[in-house]
Each structure stands twice: as C-alpha cells, then as structure tokens.
Symmetry: D2
Subunit: 459 residues, 4 copies
Amino acid sequence: MDEIREECGVFGIWSNSGKGAARKIYYGLTALQHRGQESAGIAICDTSKERGNIRLHKDMGLVGEVFGEGVLSELEGNIGIGHVRYSTTGESSPNNAQPIAFQYLKGSLALAHNGNIVNASELKEQLLEDGSVFNATTDSEVIATFIAKNRAHTGSIEEAVKMTIPHLKGGYALIIMSPRKLVAVRDSLGLKPLCIGKTEDGYAIASESCALDSINAEFIRDVLPGEILTVKDNKIISDTEGCIDKSRHAHCIFEYIYFARLDSKLDGVSIYSARINAGRALARSFKDKADIVAGVPESGITAAMGFSMESGIPYTNIFCKNSYIGRTFIKPDQSERESAVHMKLGVISQAVEGRSIVLIDDSIVRGTTIARLIDMLKQKGAKSVHVRICSPPFLHPCYYGTDVPDEGQLIAKKMTTEQIRDMIGADSLEYMKIEDLESMTGDLALCKACFDGNYPTAH
Amino acid sequence: MDEIREECGVFGIWSNSGKGAARKIYYGLTALQHRGQESAGIAICDTSKERGNIRLHKDMGLVGEVFGEGVLSELEGNIGIGHVRYSTTGESSPNNAQPIAFQYLKGSLALAHNGNIVNASELKEQLLEDGSVFNATTDSEVIATFIAKNRAHTGSIEEAVKMTIPHLKGGYALIIMSPRKLVAVRDSLGLKPLCIGKTEDGYAIASESCALDSINAEFIRDVLPGEILTVKDNKIISDTEGCIDKSRHAHCIFEYIYFARLDSKLDGVSIYSARINAGRALARSFKDKADIVAGVPESGITAAMGFSMESGIPYTNIFCKNSYIGRTFIKPDQSERESAVHMKLGVISQAVEGRSIVLIDDSIVRGTTIARLIDMLKQKGAKSVHVRICSPPFLHPCYYGTDVPDEGQLIAKKMTTEQIRDMIGADSLEYMKIEDLESMTGDLALCKACFDGNYPTAH
Amino acid sequence: MDEIREECGVFGIWSNSGKGAARKIYYGLTALQHRGQESAGIAICDTSKERGNIRLHKDMGLVGEVFGEGVLSELEGNIGIGHVRYSTTGESSPNNAQPIAFQYLKGSLALAHNGNIVNASELKEQLLEDGSVFNATTDSEVIATFIAKNRAHTGSIEEAVKMTIPHLKGGYALIIMSPRKLVAVRDSLGLKPLCIGKTEDGYAIASESCALDSINAEFIRDVLPGEILTVKDNKIISDTEGCIDKSRHAHCIFEYIYFARLDSKLDGVSIYSARINAGRALARSFKDKADIVAGVPESGITAAMGFSMESGIPYTNIFCKNSYIGRTFIKPDQSERESAVHMKLGVISQAVEGRSIVLIDDSIVRGTTIARLIDMLKQKGAKSVHVRICSPPFLHPCYYGTDVPDEGQLIAKKMTTEQIRDMIGADSLEYMKIEDLESMTGDLALCKACFDGNYPTAH
Amino acid sequence: MDEIREECGVFGIWSNSGKGAARKIYYGLTALQHRGQESAGIAICDTSKERGNIRLHKDMGLVGEVFGEGVLSELEGNIGIGHVRYSTTGESSPNNAQPIAFQYLKGSLALAHNGNIVNASELKEQLLEDGSVFNATTDSEVIATFIAKNRAHTGSIEEAVKMTIPHLKGGYALIIMSPRKLVAVRDSLGLKPLCIGKTEDGYAIASESCALDSINAEFIRDVLPGEILTVKDNKIISDTEGCIDKSRHAHCIFEYIYFARLDSKLDGVSIYSARINAGRALARSFKDKADIVAGVPESGITAAMGFSMESGIPYTNIFCKNSYIGRTFIKPDQSERESAVHMKLGVISQAVEGRSIVLIDDSIVRGTTIARLIDMLKQKGAKSVHVRICSPPFLHPCYYGTDVPDEGQLIAKKMTTEQIRDMIGADSLEYMKIEDLESMTGDLALCKACFDGNYPTAH
C-alpha cells in the first residue's frame, strides 16, 4: 500500500467498583483501531482475588473479529490492558500479537507496547547471554524480560520499571499490568503519545484521547514524557524523576499530520486544529487560481477545509468513498488494474467538470495513488489539478516505530518536485515547508527527523 | 436502526469477447453495496455453449464475504446478472436471496429484481390456483413464475416479459437472463432506477451509474421507464411501446435525498448536485445566525456543503467517524447506552467549542440518533445547534420497496415540529418545504408520496 | 471412492405432548448418517398454532455440522421431518438439499424423500408443460409439485398423495408434512425401507429401525410396501389399498449386504443375521485351508464372524482403522500414493505374519482398494490371502437410487473372476452365488437386478 | 468422559533429499492422533539455508483441522518435528500447544514433548530465580529453557541435552530440533515410548511404530531408555551413557492395555498380542458359562477375541458404533439422558437376545458407561452379562502424564468388586490379577504403579 503506517495503540483500565474492565477495553481499542488493524488482544485481572491470575486473549484481526460476546464474558476482572497492532518490527504472526503475559519470579505480568526500541537487539543480546529465551520477535518481549529481571532485585513493579527505563532508547508508550497495579510509562522525549482519564469508577489510560471519549471517560492529562504513572488502589501515583525539560521533547510530527484521530488532542494540541492549520499554511503560499478545494479521503479532507477557510476558495467533496471494500475484497488483477482505485473512490463528475481544483493530501510516499486520482479527475473533465501536500518531502527513515517504505521507494529521494509533479500529472505541486510545520503545533517541540534527518536519539 | 433503507441493487453484464463476466459483476455489485447488505448473488451463463447452463451462487452477507476467489473462478461464462439485497418483503433468509434461477418449459432463466410489486399477492394467488408452488416468500419468485408461464405461449423471452409487464403494478427494475440474452425492464413510472453502459467488449446494466464507473464502463443512457431493453448477440434492442409521457413519471425522491451514491447520475440528475441544491434551498430560508455548518455523516455532509456555499457560513466537519464498527461489533448494553453513538462518531471539540452550529441531516425517522448527537455537541461546548432537514416530514408509508418504520414510529406523525425540536434538544429545527423539492431535481416528475400521500398507483 | 453408496435417510416425528421434535429428529438423523453424509435438513411445524408455519433449516454437511444448539432451538414445533442425503440424481449442491418446503394453493408442505423415480423426467416434462418452474434438479421437487397440484382437486393431503402414487415408478420412501399431519409412503415393491415406532408421547418414522432405538422409541412395524400411513391427532391411519402381494415385493438386497446399519431390522430381517449368514454361506463352499479369517473394515467384519462360526477358523482383526481421517484430510498425492490406504488402515503385523488369511468383503466395485490391502498384508508377511465376497459380481446398473460407478468401471463387467483374482493379487477369490442370497434373507422377495438384470419395473 | 487419557504424541523427520518434511509429519501425526486430540503443531526448518529459520504452526484441534493445504505448503523445509496433545499439566489453551519454538543465545530451537516431569515446579522455581520468564504453563517450556541455558556453557545442542537430562525426573519422550539436527531422548526408565525408522531419504522418529508405517518408513528400533539419539547430516549418532539395566526399566503398562494403537509394537511387544494375551489370561480363570464373548468398542474388542480363542466361546460384535458422533454433537440433556449412550452404540438385538454374554473392557474408571451398556443389553434380551476387565483395579494416581480422574472418582477406591458388580448390574465381574499382567508383555519391566502403588521414581 502507498501509505505510512503507525504500529500500535494501547489502552488500560482500572475499574474500582468491580467487573466490566474487558468491555471497556474492547470499546477503547475499537476507538484506537486506526492505529493498528493486524492483531488485537486484552489481558485482564481481578484485584480482589488473593492470587491474581492474568487472563489473556489475542489473535490476528480487528477488535470486532477477535472478540465475540463469548470470549469477552470470560475475561472477568476489574483491571486490564489492551493492544491493537501493526507489525513494524517482528513478523506479522499470531505469535507477535500483544499484550504479552508471562510468569516470572515474583508472579505474573502483562505488557502492552507502542513504539520501537532502537537498542532492542543489544538488550536482547544481553538477555540471551544471561540465558533468556524468546518466543516472539518483538521488542516488547525484550522489555518485559528486562523488567522481570529487574523486579527480582527490587521491591515493586514500578521500581523495576524505573530501573529498566534508562536502558531503553527510542520511542515508546507502555502499559504494564501486575495483578494489583497498572504502570504507564512514556519515553522521555514524548515520541509516542499516552494520556489518562477518569471514568465513573476508576481510571483509563490510552494512546489517544478519542479512546477516553469512547467510554465517556473524562480526559485528565497527558502522561508526561519520562513519567512513571502507577494506578493502584484506585489512586494515581506519579514519579516524574525521569522527566526532562519540555524544550528537549521530540513529539512525532506524523501523529498530527496523519496517525492520530481527528477528535483526539495529544500533548495539548488538537489534531483537528493542527490539520486545519496545515491547510491554512498551504493556502497562504498558494499563488494559483482555483474554483474549488478538495481533499484525498480521508487523509487530506481536514486540511482542505482549512485551505478553504484561509483562501476563500469553496470546499467540496469530489470523491465518493466505497466503505464496503473490506479485507476480503478481491482486487482487480493486472489486466483490470484501472478499476482498483475506481472501486474505492468514485469521482463526482458534477463537482469536477470544467473546474480548477486544489487537491490536498497528507504526504506522497510513492505517488502511485495520487497519480491515478488525478487521471480520474481529468477523465471526468477537471480543467486543472493543483496538488498541495501537508508535509515536507519524506527523505529519511524512521527508527521509532513508523512503518515507511524502504528509502528506495521514497519518491522524494529519487526525483525533484518538478519531476514528481510531472509524473503524477498535476498542474502544480507544492509541499509544506519545514518551517511551516510549527504553524500546526505551536511551540510543541517536534521530531521531524523524517524530513530533516535530525534524529533526537542515537539509532 | 434509525434509518430508511433501500431494498436492492441489480447488475448485468454482456461480455462479447469471452469470459470474465462474474468478476465484472462482483465489482459492479460492490459499487452498489450501499443499496443492500443482507445478501448477494451472481448467476452466470456461457452463450457459446450449445445448451446454456446457468450457474448460481448466492448467500447471506456482503459481496466480499459471499464471493471468494474460488467461488468466483467457478462462475464461468460471458453473460450474467447479480443482486444485492435488503429485505423488505419476504423474510431475511438465505432462501430469499437473489438472483433466482429456475428451469421451466423452454429451458432456464435467472432474474434479479429491485422494487416492490403492489399486487404481488393477487398474482401469487392466481398462480397458486394454476398449481404453482413457491419456495421463497419474495415478489421476485412470483414475477419469475409469471414470465415462465407466459413464455410457453410466445416465441421469445422478451415477448414473455412484455406479456407480463401489464400485470405488474408497483415500482421495479428487473434484469432477466436466459442462456442467450439479457432483458432489462423498468416500471413505466420510473420509480426504480436502471441504466446501461458500454464496456470494452459488451454492455453493462446497473441500478446506478456509479457501478458502471467502477468497471470503467461508459454510461450510455438510463433505461426508459416502461422500456424493454434486450441485449442479444452483443446488440441492444429497445422496445418502448410500454413507455408513457415524461410528465406522468414518478421517480422516487428518496434516491436523490438518501439512497443513491453521490457519484451517480439517475435520470439525468446528479445525486451530488441534488444534495448540494437541497442544502442551498435550506440556506435560503435560514434566518438564524451561525458560526459553522456541518452535516451528520454521511447522510447530511453534501447538503451541508451546499448550505455553506449559499450562506457563506464556513463548512467544517465536527464528527470523526469510526470506520471499524462492523457487523460483529458488540453494542454497549442498556447500562452503557451512552457510549453507543460515541463509538461510531466522536465529536471534534476544537471545532464545536463555543460555536453556533447549523447541523444538516437528510431526514428524521425516530429522532433518537440526532438527539444523542446534539447532546454530545452541547457537552463539548457547542453554543447552539440549528437542525435543518433536507426533506419534508415523513408522514406516509411507501408501497414501492422502501423500508420505512411502522407509522407508529414516525415521529412527524405524532409530534409537531416544535415538539420534535424540543425532544431532540435543538435550538431551532426546520424541514425542507415540499415545494422546494423541485430545486433538487429540476423538472423531473417525482413520487413524493411519503411526504404528501399522493401515490402514483393504486396500492 | 471405490464404494457403492446409498442416497438418503428420512426421519419423521409426531410429539403429542408439545415441543422438542427438532432434537429428536437431530438424534434420529445422526443414527441414519451412514445413509448420506452430503447434506442434512429438518423441517418443523407446530400443530397448536392456528396457521401452521413450516420452519426449515438445511445445508451441506453432516448433521452435527449443519445443526448447532442455536439453530436447533429456533426450530420450534411438535411435528417435523428430516433428511440426510447422498447425491445420486441432481447435483451435489445446497439447492438440492432436503427436506424441501414450499407454499401451494392450500397452504404449505414439506417433503423428505429417499429413492429414485424412474419416470421423473416424463413427470417433470408434464409439469413444465403446465407452467411449473423448478429450482432444484431433484426428483423430490417433481413429486412435491405433483402432490401440490393434486391437492387442489381433492380434500386432504393424504388423498393428494394417493392420487400421485400411481404415477410414480421406481423405488421410494417418502415422508410428507402438512401443518397438521405426517404422511408416510413406500413404493409398492418395497424397494426402499421405512418403519414406524412409538415414542413416549407420539410416533416416529424412520428409514431404519436403528434410528428408532436412538431415541428410545419402540419399533411397531415396517410401513407396508404400497401403504399410505397418516399420523394425525396422535393417531395412525393406514390405507393399504395400494399394497400388493408379498411375493411380488422386490426389497433391495444391498440394504442387507451393505447399506443398512448392523443393529437395524428391515422388513423382518436383521441386518446382523443376514451378514452372519452371508459369511456362513461363503464358509460352506470354502475348500481352501486358512489360519484365520478377517474382514475388510467395516463392510466385511460381520460376515467374517459368520464365516468363522461356520468354519471354525478363528476370527481376528488384522487391520487397525484410523478414525480421525476426516473430510478435510489432505490425501497423499500421486507421488506419495502408497500411503493413502496406509493412513486409513494399518496392518497388525503380529496377526498376519506367516499366516493364511481368509479376507471377507461385501463387494468388489473397481478392485483398487482390496488390491492395495492384499499387497499390504503380503508385505507384512501373510502367507496367503483368500478373498471371499458376500455378493455376486456386480453386472447391471441400478435405477432405484443406488449410486454405482458407470458400467465401464465395474470390474466384473470386464474381467473374469480369475483375471480379477490375479489383478488384486489374491491366492483365491470367490463370490457368493446368486442362489445363496436367500440364505441371508430367508423368503423375503428381493430385487437382485444389479446381479441378474431382472428389474422389477420398467426403467 | 469415563476414560483414561494419554497426553501426547511426538513425531520427527529428517529428509535428506530436500523438501516435503511437513507433509510427512502431517501423516505421522494423523497416525498418532489417538494420543491427543486437543491441539496439533508442526515446526519446520531447512538445513540447506545458511541461517536456519524455524517455522511453526500450531492450534487447537485435530491435525486435519489445524493444517490445510495452504498452511502445509508454507511450512517449507527438510527437517521438522510435530506434536499432538492432550492437556494433563497446563491448561487447555492455544498457548500451551506444542511444539514450542524459541530463540536463545546460540540461535533457535524447537521442542516436542510427551510425558510429565515430576520435579518441574522445582526446576521452574530455579529458572525463575535466574530471571527466566514463562509464557505457557507446561513442563515443556521448563525443559526448553533449561536446555537453552545449558547450551550456553557447552559446544552442541546434544551436549546441552545431556547436561539437562540428569535434572529431569519423571517420564518423557522428547524430540528437539535445532536448525541442523534432531535430538531424540527418552527417560531412562522407558516410561514413555519412542522409536526410529528409515524413510526412503532419511529418518523418522515417532511415539509409536504405527506412525512409521503410515509414511512407509521401515522400523529400525526403539530409542533406548536413557539414550540420546542425534540425527545430523543424514546420520544417526547414539549416546547411551545414560542408559540403565533393562531390569530397572518401568514401561507404562497402560500403553499396552489401552493407549497405543493395535498395529504398533513398543519396546519389542506388539500391542495386538498383548491384548490378545490379556483376553486369554482372563479366559483361563473364567469359571462361568457363556454363549458368546464380545468387547466394548474399541477398548475391549481385541481382548475379547483373545478370550474367544482361549475359551472356544464364539466371538461376535453385539454393538454397532456410530462413527459420525463428532465433537460438535449436541449431547442429550438430563431429561433425555437415556439416549446419550444409545447414540454412540446401538445394541444388535439378534446377537444378544436370549444369550449369556462375556463382555470385555480394558478398565473401569467410574463405571457409568458399562452400567448403561449392560442395561441396554438386558433390555434387548440378554440372559446374563459377565464382565471381565483387562486390568487390575485402578487405585493410585499417575505422576507420569496419564490423565486419571481424581482419586475420589475412582470407583475401585470406594467399593469392593462385589459392590461394583452390583452397581453396574453385571452377573459376574472379574478384574485381571496383577500377577497376570506379565502374560501380556512377557519379561518387559513394567510400571504398574496405578495398580500397586510402587512408583519407579520419587514424586
């Protein structure tokens, strides 16, 4: 696919009044499904039982496919964590689904992880030397084993987490569950998002605030980069010793450009506003003339509205999306290739015929899809198509968990903007300037390494 | 669900150069999936074989679920018809899936049907008297048996269809396949849509033009109300004897308001334009003040854009739709009811906080969903919500195949507009006026019986 | 497969005290599963409801696969019929599964059918001339339509059946259900079996008595060849007008040789005894010497015991059957062919090494399996293998519903017994003599057409 | 169920000439399916690849359900191991399916295990202390981790196995696969069986010889108790340092009585012969009179034949087994209880009516099934039923992997033989005497702890 993909979403729940944690996690994960559609899992525990036994169910598929009424009702307990996954490191196999649950010296633990540990292979090597064995091929198993080892030399799970953190390099958001507690951690740079909310009878932790909304939880705040936040006996305990100065943060810009859901707010910045502002920024440097502005569904829609607001050029939809194209859809083969994009997006002739169009998208990875869309628009009579992209050209790989094609497939690496414009058949093409990214997120310190190569950590 | 539902979509293909009809029908039906998600089916035949044998596969489910690579590859042939279904008459059972295929005196036939025959039970009674037996509970089996009986007394399938047509009262679009031909018919009032297009090697017939686009077929024209159109030996033969004057047509207004896909054009009218115009008409009579205009996804989105164009009030999205809520999604139960709509639509706080909003939807059936949405908007800080509806109040049942709730559940039947406004919590509420419907579709003669009770046929 | 196959089993239940008919049919069909494993179905009705509505569920697969708890619990009613099917006439498709249920002039009917109507195509032609249409390709639909037509001219369903019977040529056992009654019929020759039993609160009708045992019903008697037996208001009404003299009966010999279950008794003859006697008859003409006698599982096992009893040669098992080879088992391909039979049957070396073996089977169709078995026995050290077959050579096709390979594949048609012996690698081979068949079934009048070509009807 | 169950079967293959290992394992596991029907798995490797990557597929279900053509074809490689499982220790969950595959310091390993480690919890505790974490709840993961740890301090996998063996107490048969080798080990007492055979292009290792037969492999010999047998570069290397004197062996008697397949030969003793001899031994002490002897299918069948041979009383079958009662079969509920056994076994009236019957079974656990069978026989007219059991009363738990009911449910623990006879309704009841067990297996040293409480190891 011609897309950049996020790898994971995590969700945790503490329900003081009793049962029902699994259902809440089910809803929370469904709200985070856009962050990963490959596998889903829930681990549950009952804090009222003397010897907490962690129950786990996970499998390949969407949340709604992995969990039926029967499975959900067997996941009894009042605390739990859940996970949706896209495979970045590790193969796409049931074995790599999360959460992972395991037994260790002091009892049992479960862990759900979003992100990428840059030094995972070194840590793994070290653990292998100590005699550890690994069942999966994920970073998460490395982190879990590390925490379990440290737990042997310390008095609590949160202390074991604290001992482990300094060794982890990269971007991550973790939720760890022991039979009594939830521990939430975020990398000190804030590369991966995590926030906490108040439910009617406890707390919820989620990758994005939209998941809190989905269960009617009230957003409290983002977990701080570097913070270790423990939920225990229905109380929150914060340990901020690992936090660093805000100015040294490096929040992933792609959460705002593409990954996060429109109705989420991450580290104080509304995704919706960021995208509206991206469109506005593009509009400010727009010199051409156009009759209408439109977005590539869904990635360019909101920015297109912002472009319209700033420029006064009317916004409209020009594509009709077929929402019934599921996983089992049989794609047209080579000889029928032309209908592949046709099936997903129909062009609304009436909206485009004889018109000059500004077409907004979030990014160009390989350029094949946008080229096909422009061709379809011209076939339906569009006079001209001016493409504007809400991000600078993608030039560098991401080491923190974003799945980007190999450098060889990044079009911006191989062609000039003019060559790309020509290849995709646009009448004009402009990317957002790196300096304009701040218009999206204000004074938030960003990781823009994929655009400028300035990585916030060694890698 | 709080919705009005269409019952069916039909698709037919004539592929002169050889095989591949089934795959084209698969794509066509996928493009028509919005017209029916209950069952899907394809019947195929090979005209080059001496004794054409009709192969049929149909089952409950979406097109992509019913047909896998294996099944599709076994459906060999160069002509075929397909069907997607919502159950209106007849139970929702595999037995009632279409197309239906059967053997009769002169060979075999298959039939795909969209619509409702008002006098089906009388016709059935008559056939029962003659000794017919019925396996399903659909109108379609009645029509098929009638045609088969008539074929015994005439020289061709198209003549048998012609003998049958005068007996059918109601709204319908039919595609009939014999081992040599396709015959397409539309009721003389034009209640149900049907159009024909040219493929690279033959013809395609479809309920909506968007299905022709999906296989890169070129739209030729709508099948005329009352026309019998035969595709045979790669030629089109038209019999227009049953056609009546345009002014007596009665095209279903709900195709334009809600059913048809945005990128379709039915009987010369673009669905997109009709909805943009609906929004414009609502804007013209808008007296209140508002900061933004938005639509209920997806039904009110396009009209909201039209409203924005006419009024100058900026359009934006205020809801974020979760596209992963599938059929197997476990709905929150009574005690969790508040999160049900929450799961499907998240409110974008940043877009609504402190703002006066015009919220557009296509219709109000029971009012429960819009009431919940308004409540969510107010919780997120909306200053006021002005609801505008793209259709007049729904007051009368439909006898032509549209699935409307019982009269007792139609809110407009029981409450004044002011009472409804109060119930849903809107700051103002206005419906489109009946006289404004023409602004949507120009001089097209419409069936508006659901609004004004003027039915175009006895019923 | 190298086998002769039966086509169907039928079962009916009248439960006076109330509900639970579907579960009893489920058990009855499970006991009849050996008669057909292709599809299964149950039709149910509640006689206490004013307008009896027949509910039907059927699908491809075994009884235990087609019916789960959920489906069974929805089949509410106190009378019902069921069917298990092997396809002989008509394709193997869901469309041809039984029972069939349909609506006709006087209400609704369901029908379950075992057997073959020799003149079905003529009857069908006649019905087609009258304007009937057919959905399936089975005889059963022809019979059903015929009965429905006759019902229009008569006062009851049993009379309509009576009008229909004289037109049906062939072998059949039918159970017909109207919303008030069950009607059971058997062809006047008695080609197909059917019996009736008493349950604690009503009656049960079944193809074989073993199905009565399975629900603890007490065997009353066989339905008479030619009898029309109606169960109505918890009473049995018998109409024997169509019965003929016992001496003119023609009971299918293959029920005794192979089809029926060992614990059934059909028309007064125990299947077990018939097979024991077959073995005894073979033993009486046995001139060779042998250390042990064994049977091919399961078809030759019982006769082998009879052979042992008569001859005094000890019986033992020499094969170990793998009962986990299910439908989804991936068969070894050409290059691995040798392990195909190996997987199903393991040879018990200890039992065969150095021994002379009498090996009994029911019949030889193509000879490939027995050849492979003999080869396996010799590899494991068998000194000699004397094959004895419980039936005469199979020389003529069956027109009454038994699925035999094409004449071209019948080995006895192409080779002498000596040639067959040589081909299968046996040290001696003898078939049962036609005149010895009576030793199996006493004075029961038999259809032995497959052996002697004397067909009891025109065909 | 009223049964004693085995826990596992293992199978390994070395195919020198190239691919195809997975299919051979598939057939081998199918032949071992009687040893475990809960889960199945295959791990595969290609020794020709520089860095051998182990591919693993396992799931709940029968071999034929877990592996389809698609899955099998993806398991490419020339060496592999497989496993079928019954859960004894560890829960019945997908997580506990085998083989297990993991990464460790020196690369990757897979392991398949049959048996029970008596000191597993102590070993686990020790590993936990060292910082190990565990994903499953099986002994197998403990063994695997132990071997992996030892591999760090030694030069080869077989040496690591050798270092591990002395620490494992209990009964086990293991096959370990590294990317280059297979290592097979058996506990030094020989509690669990394992043998090796020659294929056309390599070697096969299996729990029972019947699995070698299934792929046409030639039996070479049993793996010796205590032997470490390595298959490497298409050669067998034997290390017998851990072997002990034959007289100290303790082969599980239940393999001969019940577990193993009739056509297998374990440690030189044919299962068939052992059971024939068991029947003969029972016959020798038989004082009553009887007309026929029969066995409970399948467990008592072979012994019944032996009884017949010794006593001269004719053997026959008196039950007809329904082989279509699958996992999904809906069992009759309480109120229908009588038909539960009726469904599985039908009584052949003709064979039992008026007769005195010797009925043989392998063991009595709770006595409910045999009680029901005797009742059925008497209902069908049996004059008397003399029950003879091929094993002594079951009095002590098994610690080596055989799944026996809790002591409280062992009928022999609570009742005298006379009381049991009365309870099951038999006319006489006798168990095999402990001293007669040797008649089954000759001079093989046995573990008979379940009968006499003499355990061969601490436990």
